[in-house]
Symmetry: C2
Subunit: 180 residues, 2 copies
Amino acid sequence: MPPPSEPDPTAVGRRVRALREARGISLSALARLAQVGKATLSGLENGTRNPTLETLYAITAQLGVPLTAVLFEPGAEPTVRGAAVNAILLEVFNDSDATYELYRMRIAPGTDQLSPAHQAGVTEHVTVFAGVLRAGPADAPLTAAAGDHLRWASDVPHVYAAVGDEEVAATLLLRYPRKP
Amino acid sequence: MPPPSEPDPTAVGRRVRALREARGISLSALARLAQVGKATLSGLENGTRNPTLETLYAITAQLGVPLTAVLFEPGAEPTVRGAAVNAILLEVFNDSDATYELYRMRIAPGTDQLSPAHQAGVTEHVTVFAGVLRAGPADAPLTAAAGDHLRWASDVPHVYAAVGDEEVAATLLLRYPRKP
DNA sequence: TACTGCTGTTCCGTAAACGGAACGATCGAG
DNA sequence: CTCGATCGTTCCGTTTACGGAACAGCAGTA
């Protein structure tokens, strides 16, 4: 999977300031309520500091919003994006002999996406709900239409691409077998 | 709104460790890939450090998961909870003369919930989709069934409660007028 | 056995995030 | 105008998160 969208420190500061001003409370007051220094909050809002998880939580808690409200653009789901693939992590199952990660993914038509190889033993399982997907090992990709299911060993570079001009909707199950 | 669910530092560490071990890579290797010290990662996984947003992001980026995957229990939506009310922030609009926060909320039957007063000028607008809601100023609450809409000034303590034994589904729009 | 390479933890000096105090600016009251 | 209060920023000493090195423990090899 490609790297997640970055939480820009200056954008985080801007969102904190916007939420604070919306509530009509001063920087000094919020710092007092959240029990952090005014210098800390000032630096955070101006993007000149690299806040600790603890301080950021203390502030968002006082603003009455979840941490995600300042980390990302509100409404934006916690997404893992690439050029063509847009996936969001739904669940993680920690079984006794493997870990499973369940993603809901959408693949835009027109562009391919190459993912690097995973650890040996890791497998990917895709179920297509809409569109036509071409995915699998880079040297031998498979094709699946709505309702179809694909699986491949992902210890080699693999690709994702939408066939035709319809966006592909699918679920991706990543299976990481436990090391013995 | 009540405080969000807390991101327990030890739980964050446990989730990072679980994700790392699922991928079958060592602590040393992940530290090298993420360009952080081994001591940093070790302390983070064991919950003895209070990580910076920057370091936490560098690590989750290498694991290929969004920040939220380690902050909260996977699958748990970024929710703002209280005894009876379960709300998730959907959107924030920064208009020229006001800020709007849109929540989707569910209210469990049986228990009431009291919210403290907001800033003067703040108004709440609730649209009920299912169930019967009793909400508004603590001294004069209003009642609304599915399809109804409520509004009140929230500069006084206010309550939320489900009437009957059906769960209430509704949207809540909080309006913070801009200071002149 | 000793050696090599790796694991994860601990020690330590440095860099920086922290809270508190001091600062100039702005506002309203007298 | 002066006073007092509060605003947000800046300075500063303390605390602590940081990266690198040293460490013990364990596997595989000669």
